[in-house]
């Protein structure tokens, strides 16, 4: 009985011949040839069924290790070899006996079945693996995004993560800000500038159509982003010939947030459906995180607006009082001196002039405080950190408050050794001035004011103590509120912003400030400034170059 060639094309699933798959095909064929060569000498002693089983083992083994194409080919070749070499009449493809024909086709059927089953199992495994990978990367992204608070940090985290996970050459986010796309985060080399008008035009198209656009590495002429299918193929004349670029919309249900740009050089794997789907999922995930940041920013802005309104009204009342008082005395003194009909004694004239000078200083101090407070309230403090000896700043502040401290003796308690501290000199001096002035202002003439500096674990602690009117219990926190003023018998002049500024400055230095009621009378205001471990080390290494030789 002659059996004609069955149509095996279905087995040889189309798969492009790459270098690697050629190796696989050759291996598969060699395996069958080897089996044939091994069995051939024993042909007289072997039962047909045994031969079929042995071939089957090879085919099954191949289907496990090689991909579908090579294993299918192996099945067919095994079938042919089996027929040609082991089924009489030998060296023909014809089959004489019916039971041989049956064995032959049972073999073929089993081989095909095994190959198909393995293929399906493999497909399932791959699917599961891919799924696992996607879940893991998405999880990574969300985990990375949860930690980020600021918008810029979040954008940077998304871009960096996408760039790493997908092995991109370049990645960027164009943020939709009031209808304008702005490149806000870039990782790697995206080649085209994020300000390129063509890129932005395509970005706008992506945003408004909420569709993915891909720029192939083809040499196709520039054509407008057309809607055929999910991918609008569009190519720029400039600079893109050697890379694939994918633009994905970042949107939430409520608004469009921007565009995720991913690019890869030619020669690296091109973006496939699978990848662009996963990128889109990434973009959605990122959209939620970015929206959260935008909402927080907007909320903060709204809060700042209300707070600055409150601040303005409080300022107005403080300003009207605290600006006018020194102005009034300057005006009075100056006009007195201008009077032509009075013969001022030198002493009187000096007193008036000194009043003008002092009140002008007070005005200047007040304006400086207002400016500082405004900067603190606006969150615009940027301390100019540098290394200083706190004792030097303390002496400076003490000198500059000489007049304001008037008749209060000052007790200074400073340590013998002090590591340099990284601070903004002007701000810390201002804090000390405010504390010393307050201490003098709220305590009876002649009562002492003390200032103590101590080095604690990882922090310098400064305490300013007075023996004044003190504080009602429970007010220790409130004195740091702006415009808060202690009710004192004869209320001293003050705007109630000195301590608010002190707190703003100290917190900008990463320190803490608080007030304590003294056991007997008055209060102590303490603040800390962090001393980094590093600072000690640095100082030690710096003084190391004392090795330099002394000269005469």
């Amino acid at each position: 009985m002659r059996v004609s060639w069955p149509n095996f094309r279905m087995l040889a699933l189309s798969s492009r011949l790459s270098g690697r798959s050629i190796v696989n095909y050759v291996t598969a064929l060699l395996a069958i040839a080897a089996m044939t060569a091994v069995l051939f000498p024993f042909r007289p002693h072997l039962d047909i069924l045994n031969v079929a089983l042995l071939y089957l083992i090879v085919v099954s083994a191949l289907s496990l290790v090689a991909s579908t194409g090579p294993s299918s080919i192996a099945a067919v070749v095994a079938f042919l070899c089996f027929d040609f070499f082991f089924i009489p009449p030998y060296y023909t493809l014809t089959v004489a006996r019916q039971d041989h024909a049956l064995a032959l086709f049972v073999f073929l059927g089993t081989a095909v079945l095994v190959t198909q089953l393995t293929r399906r199992a493999r497909a399932h495994t791959e699917e599961a693996l891919r799924h696992g990978r996607q879940t893991a990367t998405l999880y990574d992204l969300s985990a990375a995004l949860i930690g980020e608070i600021g918008l810029d940090d979040t954008l940077a985290a998304v871009v960096k993560r996408v760039w790493t996970v997908f092995g991109l050459d370049g990645c960027a986010i164009l943020l939709d800000e009031h209808g304008e796309l702005n490149g806000r985060a870039v990782e790697g080399d995206i080649l085209i500038s994020v300000t390129d008008p063509n890129l932005l035009a395509l970005g706008r198209w992506v945003v408004s159509h909420r569709q993915i656009a891909s720029l192939g590495a083809t040499r196709a002429k520039l054509r407008p982003p057309g809607p055929p299918g999910q991918h609008a193929s569009w190519n720029f004349a400039l600079g893109l010939r050697d890379r694939d670029v994918l633009l994905l919309p970042i949107t939430t249900r409520r608004r469009s947030i921007g565009v995720l740009v991913a690019s890869r050089r030619r020669g690296r794997p091109r973006f496939d459906e699978e990848e662009s789907r996963l990128l889109a999922t990434f973009a959605n995930q990122a959209a939620l995180a970015i929206e959260r940041c935008l909402l927080t920013d907007e909320q903060v802005n709204a809060e700042i607006l209300t707070r600055s309104d409150q601040l303005k009204s409080a300022l107005l009342s403080a300003v009207s009082h605290d600006l006018r008082t020194p102005l009034a005395s300057i005006k009075a003194s100056a006009t007195s001196l201008l009077q032509t009909d009075v013969n001022w004694s030198d002493e009187d004239r000096n007193e008036l002039l000194e009043a003008i000078d002092e009140e002008a200083d007070r005005l200047n101090q007040f304006v400086a405080n207002l400016l500082d407070l405004t900067r603190i309230e606006a969150g615009a403090l940027q301390p100019a950190f540098d290394w200083y000896d706190l004792r030097e700043i303390i002496y400076d502040a003490v000198n500059r408050t000489e007049r304001a401290r008037g008749g209060h003796p000052l007790q200074l308690d400073l340590p013998e050794h002090m590591p340099p501290t990284k601070v903004d000199y002007i701000e810390i001096a201002q804090v000390l001035i405010n504390l010393l002035e307050n201490a003098a202002k709220y305590s009876p003439e002649g009562s002492p004011v003390s200032l103590t500096l101590r080095v604690r674990a990882r922090a310098a602690e400064i305490a300013v103590s007075d023996q004044g009117v003190g504080l009602p219990a429970g007010e220790e926190e409130r004195i740091f509120d702006r415009f808060y003023r202690v009710e004192a018998p004869n209320r001293p002049i003050g705007s109630g912003i000195g301590l608010a500024i002190a707190r703003g400055f100290i917190e900008a230095h990463g320190g803490k400030i608080w007030a304590e009621r003294n056991r007997e009378r008055g209060i102590t205001v303490r603040f800390t400034l962090p001393l980094a471990e590093r600072e000690h080390a640095m100082v030690a290494s710096m003084s190391g170059d004392k090795a330099e030789r002394s000269c005469r």
Binding site: D357, A360, N364, A368, L371, A384, D386, W387, Y388, D389, R391, E392, I394, Y395, D396, L414, M418, P420, D424, Y425, I426, A429, M538, V539, M542, S543, K546, E548, R549, S550, C551, R552
Partner: protein, 230 residues
């Protein structure tokens, strides 16, 4: 011939006050209110000292300094407001000689003017021995004494002290000190400079945290006092 001073400020009240104060001390004062007219005045009438406000309506004060320094070494004293440390440093590094922070006392401005004038006349003849109160610096012999007691300085400390003392009364920015003492290509940090200043103070001052000679100008640099604090 009286010393001629050019005052550049767009506030008429400030100009009036400065002019009155300077006239009373025998200075001849010319006033202008823009950067452009300041450049003209300096080029045409060659004042002895320029007092320049950093916030002019038509150009940045720093820009004026830079343009003047291309063809003139006339002393320039900057007027600025508190909080402008970065601008001050920029103007000083561009070639301004000193600064006064508004609001300032007339005494302070006059002191700066005197220092600036002195440095012009001293530029040719550098005195070999400098004396500031108890502190005596013998430049050729590289010898420093405080109250007759000799103080041993390392070569770098000596260079730093010389730089400060020969510019006594004048502010020197961190950048100036670093490049003049450690060389123009110096990449050392201000922290490095601070360590040397501390070493100098430890050797020269009786109370190093309460300096009498080397004063800190926060955010800007250092100033060597011409007349040490008591």
């Amino acid at each position: 011939m009286p010393v001629r001073i050019l005052v550049v400020d767009d506030e008429p009240q400030i100009r009036r006050a400065i002019r009155a104060g300077l006239n009373a001390h025998g200075f001849e004062v010319e006033q202008v209110d823009t950067g452009e007219s300041a450049l003209d005045a300096i080029a045409l009438r060659v004042p002895d000292v320029v007092i320049l406000d950093l916030g002019l309506p038509d150009m940045q004060g720093t820009q004026v300094v830079r343009e003047v320094r291309e063809w003139s070494s006339v002393p320039i004293i900057i007027l600025s407001v508190r909080g402008d440390e970065r601008d001050k440093v920029q103007a000083l590094d561009s070639g301004a000689d000193d600064y006064v922070t508004k609001p300032f006392g007339m005494g302070e401005l006059l002191a700066r003017i005197r220092v600036a004038l002195r440095h012009v006349s001293r530029e040719q003849s550098r005195e070999p021995i400098l004396q500031f109160g108890e502190l005596r610096i013998d430049l050729p012999r590289r010898m420093v004494t405080v109250g007759g007691r000799e103080v041993h300085l390392t070569p770098t400390e000596f260079e730093l002290l010389t730089e400060l003392a020969t510019n006594a009364g004048k502010v020197l920015t961190h950048q100036m000190l670093l490049s003049r003492v450690w060389g123009p290509e110096s990449s050392e940090s201000t922290h490095y400079l601070r360590v040397y200043i501390n070493q100098l103070r430890n050797k020269l001052e009786s109370e190093p945290t309460r300096p009498r000679f080397i004063m800190t100008e926060p955010g800007v640099g250092y100033r060597f006092r011409e007349e040490p604090l008591p």
